[in-house]
């Protein structure tokens, strides 16, 4: 199948942490069971599950912060040489460029940062991690390539 003919999988979840496991399971299954063969090695499927979980976690947090009960939409499309996932929320939005860098890992201040690692993880592990954010919500677009 060409990438254009592979249907996207779409899941709409209530904005609660209990549904994150379902998101990971869906995306992992889609990447592993995509017709003739998966475009990703097992280690990269693990990375995919991780970055999708990070994006969905941020979405749950963003909506929780303002009490928005809209469903969070997760779309996954498996192509011959990559997997694309979009996570769409209806939170208040944020400025991706304003996410502060973490202090050096070997300084004591680093241990005060229990949160805020997710964006750094997405940027490190995904081949592409794009964030579009505005007052009506945020769309995170993640691509993991086969090579």
């Amino acid at each position: 199948m060409t990438p254009e003919t592979i249907p996207a999988i779409e899941l709409a979840i209530p904005p609660y942490p209990e549904y994150l496991q379902l998101v990971r399971a869906l995306v992992g299954a889609a990447a592993n069971n995509s017709g003739d063969r998966s475009p990703l090695e097992p280690g990269r499927v693990a990375d995919l599950r991780l970055v999708v979980s990070e994006a969905a976690t941020n979405a749950v947090e963003a909506q929780g912060a303002v009490g928005a009960r809209d469903r969070i939409v997760v779309r996954c499309r498996v192509a011959d040489d990559h997997v694309l996932v979009e996570v769409i929320d209806h939170g208040p939005g944020f400025d991706p460029d304003a996410v502060p860098d973490l202090p050096n890992v070997e300084t004591p201040e680093r241990l005060r940062h229990e949160f805020g690692l997710g964006v750094a993880l997405m940027e490190r592990l995904a081949d592409e991690a794009d964030v579009e954010s505005g007052p009506d919500g945020t769309t995170v677009r993640l691509v993991i390539r086969s090579t």
């Binding site: 496991q21 280690g43 991780l50 241990l111 229990e114 997710g118 993880l121």
Partner: protein, 132 residues
């Protein structure tokens, strides 16, 4: 979904013969450690510190998934133990889970031990160095 955590005291068979009886606790995490599981781990660590535990071994051998929210709870646990002059040791033999620590540079904060015995040996060795 319920968060599964198994708690036990350190045993001589862990190699803890050089430590006082009841010197520490092993918490074995059996559930995914994500935003859904992290609060339960935080609560468990608070309960341990409140009840006097000063050496906590966090065994991640059995977990299937760890993300930054789970890592945050582990970092918070270390900070809480150290604030009470204690320490938190992490057992994490699985490469897929170790990779999450490494991706956040936290393998430079935590020594990721292959098993509980190795973590206890490190504690005893550090104690011997400190007493020299």
């Amino acid at each position: 979904m319920q968060f599964n955590l198994h708690r036990r005291e350190l045993l001589p068979t862990d190699g803890a013969v050089g430590l006082a009886s009841g010197a520490g606790v092993v918490l074995t995490v059996l559930s995914d450690l994500d935003m859904a599981g992290a609060p339960a781990l935080r609560q468990a660590v608070v309960a341990e510190v409140t009840s006097g535990t000063r050496l906590l071994v966090l065994d991640l051998t059995a977990i299937d998934f760890l993300d930054s929210a789970g890592l945050g709870a582990v970092v918070g646990g270390l900070r809480r133990l150290r604030a009470h002059d204690g320490d938190l040791m992490v057992v994490c033999p699985e490469p897929r889970i170790r990779r999450v620590f490494e991706s956040c540079d936290l393998d430079r904060v935590f020594v990721l031990h292959p098993d509980v015995g190795s973590a206890i040996a490190a504690v005893i060795a550090a104690g011997e160095r400190a007493s020299v």
